[in-house]
């Protein structure tokens, strides 16, 4: 369903809006906008969130790992580097994946249904999920991945010209390219393009709060509801993710949650119930939660795909716990793809996969009972 922008088209999109062709920015060594180059040929920029520890050492203040990084070393994400005591992001403007996707693919089910999002990513990630679907970009360092040089203005213009009202930072982990996300959101606003983020939510409070006002919606992958899972399979922590969810919700930015159910690892009835109860009780009944199907990949190839019955059970538990918008994903045609009015039970939005078949919402309300349905509808 996604359409990858080929290099030529991307170059055209990027240049046309700038009013000049093959614009070079700053130093002669800087790559041409829209050019595909090895990641390490894109100029590094000083990172926004870190502090000096003396002796040319720094502490990253972007994600809860808080890496302490010596001179000439990179942080755990592989895309931030200490250069003589100054911490740099190596991926600002270094888009290694650019596609125009349906917004349902993120998935956002309550954000401009049927619209498209210009979706972008850079190399790197701050965790290492053994089941990562995009490990070929997320688990590699900046210099190991080819990138298209797309500064924020070019990204926003490309979205406009592709007819996408949304930008979406996704695929790998936007936290590790947070400065790029921030600047793209600012550039997008100038052109009427809104920004969304698809993240693991493993981020410190300060950078999260600084960028949230620029965002329209955030989707967080809540990978499990047990610390052990996060420790053993993610190399991260659950606690900071839950805190980030509360901050996002509290900031009034639209939030949706995805839970990838993996057979035997995070799919127990008790864990799903705990998770649903926490979301309903802490974040609110109206936060959409998508239970999605796992397929074996990366370092977790010894488990089968999630049985549909497991997803059915999780879907039922979530609704029983009071979640008004529980969904099932990666099972095209499943009844759990529909948005149903929590007031009268009317089917409001019908979908198959990432395609919207019908949308009966009227100004964000149910046409049958008039109940307002939360989301970003216009």
């Amino acid at each position: 369903m996604s359409s990858e922008l080929d290099r030529r088209r991307l170059l055209g999109l990027a240049c046309a809006g700038l009013g000049t062709c093959l614009l070079r920015r700053g130093a002669a060594a800087e790559p041409v906008v829209g050019a595909t180059v090895p990641g390490d040929e894109i100029p590094a920029r000083e990172a926004s969130w870190y502090r000096s520890l003396g002796e040319r050492r720094v502490e990253c203040q972007l994600c809860p790992r808080a890496c302490q990084v010596a001179d000439a070393e990179t942080g755990g994400c592989g895309v931030r580097e200490n250069r003589r005591g100054v911490y740099h992001t190596l991926v600002w403007g270094a888009a290694c994946a650019v596609h125009v996707d349906p917004i349902e693919k993120k998935p956002f089910f309550h954000v401009l249904p049927g619209q498209r999002a210009l979706s972008y990513a850079t190399a790197g990630c701050n965790v290492e999920c053994k089941f990562c679907q995009n490990w070929e970009i997320s688990q590699f360092r900046a210099e190991q991945v080819k990138a298209v040089y797309l500064p924020p203005e070019a990204l926003a213009k490309a979205a406009r010209q592709a007819g996408a009202p949304l930008l979406s930072a996704t695929y790998s982990e936007p936290v590790v390219f947070w400065e790029y996300v921030r600047d793209a959101a600012v550039a997008g606003r100038r052109l009427g393009v809104r920004s969304t983020v698809v993240s693991n939510g493993y981020i410190q409070e300060k950078p999260l709060r600084e960028v949230l006002p620029l965002l329209t919606a955030v989707k967080v992958d809540l990978k499990a509801f047990r610390e052990k899972f996060y420790r053993d399979l993610v190399r991260g922590e659950l606690g900071p993710v839950l805190k980030a969810l509360e901050i996002i919700r509290g900031a009034g930015v639209w939030l949706e949650i995805v839970v990838l159910l993996i057979p035997t690892l995070n799919d127990s009835e008790a864990e799903v119930r705990d998770l649903a109860r926490w979301v309903a009780g802490t974040l609110g009944h109206e936060v959409p939660v998508h239970f999605t199907r796992f397929h074996p990949t990366y370092r977790l190839t010894n488990l089968p795909a999630t049985p549909v019955a497991t997803l059915d059970r999780a879907w039922a538990i979530a609704r029983a716990e009071g979640l008004q918008f529980a969904y099932v994903g990666n099972v095209p045609g499943h009844a759990g793809e529909k948005t149903v009015c929590p007031g009268c039970g009317e089917v409001l939005i019908e979908r198959v996969g990432f395609r919207v078949l019908s949308n009966r919402l009227r100004d964000g309300t149910c046409p049958s009972c008039g109940r307002a349905v939360p989301g970003v509808w216009a």
């Binding site: 390490d40 002796e55 040319r56 050492r57 890496c67 302490q68 010596a70 001179d71 000439a72 070393e73 990179t74 942080g75 755990g76 994400c77 592989g78 003589r84 290492e128 053994k130 490990w135 688990q139 590699f140 360092r141 210099e143 190991q144 190399r235 990366y298 370092r299």
Partner: protein, 322 residues
């Protein structure tokens, strides 16, 4: 105190043996566990290095001392088969002042040549061609006394899990080379404690940044005990002309001193334990806390020893002068 091998470790040992046996023509690796051969060799902080003859003599005699063979060439003949493809992994992260000196690498290649390895089957490599070039190495994929180029992005397409790591290995290591040499330096490392021979192997996986927790332990040992490395690793050489006791892995001139040695061992753990001792002694001379007191003891050395890779107790390592 040794611990019994887990099933995984046992499999790794068996796997390593299989890989080693597959290296056609290789004779049992000589050398002595826990032994490090050292030869005097001046530093090059002033830019003036030894001649190729002096370097060749130093490496050869240190190798002879490490293995108990009569000569370096004789030892090399026992370590490497004429049909081996030998990969020499350098550590050039520290730039021109804290990397193995080209003249020493040329000397080792010459020694291998004397042992019957043709130039086109000696591959000097590091993480990137850019780092090699910065350290003074000419990049070449054909011709010359040895080939020399970076891994750059030439990794296996699928990750391989071993112990706590899951990584794509450089194809040079997994596929091309039948024998490996670690050629590092003697320096401090901010997280691992010591960066010498073992830590150098972080440069052959695609994601070393994921394995810096817990002073890189057990990750360094897990990389080296992976059959791709363990089954092929024959030799470790350290250019200790100038060593660094603090502030690594980047080059920091105020923390360097002229150690004036080249060290060689077939025991990859013993030579790291030796480097640890040397660094700690210099730190003590300067009034710096020892690495353990600085909370970065290179614990991966003991883990590597526990895996059966060599002798990890610095007090048990025997330094044999050439």
């Amino acid at each position: 105190m040794s611990e019994p091998l887990s099933r995984r470790e046992l499999l790794a040992v068996v796997g390593a043996g299989v890989v080693g046996a597959m290296s056609a023509g290789a004779t049992p690796v000589p050398g002595r566990r826990g032994t490090v051969g050292v030869a005097r060799l001046g530093g090059a902080a002033d830019g003036a290095g030894p001649s190729i003859e002096v370097a060749r003599q130093a490496i050869g005699s240190a190798l002879a001392a490490a293995t108990g063979e009569a000569s370096g060439t004789g030892a090399a003949r026992r370590l490497f088969a004429a049909n081996d493809t030998v990969g020499i992994k350098l550590n050039c992260l520290g730039g021109p002042r804290m990397s193995p000196r080209p003249v020493l690498v040329e000397a080792l290649a010459a020694l291998l040549g004397e042992a019957g390895i043709p130039p086109e089957r000696i591959v000097v490599f590091d993480r990137s061609s850019r780092e090699l070039g910065r350290a003074g190495f000419a990049i070449r994929r054909s011709g010359g006394p040895f080939l020399c180029f970076g891994i750059d992005n030439d990794f296996d397409r699928e990750p391989s899990s071993h112990g706590a790591i899951g990584s794509c290995f450089a194809r040079l290591v997994s596929t091309t080379c039948t024998a490996l040499v670690s050629f590092g330096v003697v320096k401090d490392h901010d997280l691992a404690g010591v960066s010498a021979g073992l830590k150098n192997w972080y440069g052959v996986i695609h994601n070393p940044n994921k394995y810096h927790d817990s002073n890189c332990d057990p990750y360094v040992a897990d990389v080296v005990s992976h059959p791709f490395v363990r089954g092929k690793l024959r030799l470790t050489v350290l250019d200790g002309g100038v060593a660094q006791c603090h502030g690594g892995p980047a080059y920091r001139p105020d923390a360097t001193w002229p150690l004036g040695m080249v060290a060689v061992a077939t025991d990859p753990v013993a030579i790291d334990a030796w480097a640890w001792k040397v660094i700690d002694e210099e730190r003590a001379r300067r009034g710096l806390p020892r690495l353990a007191e600085a909370r970065r003891a290179p614990r991966f050395i003991a883990t590597a020893a526990r895996y059966g890779l060599g002798v990890g107790d610095p007090a048990a390592v025997k330094e044999v002068p050439a």
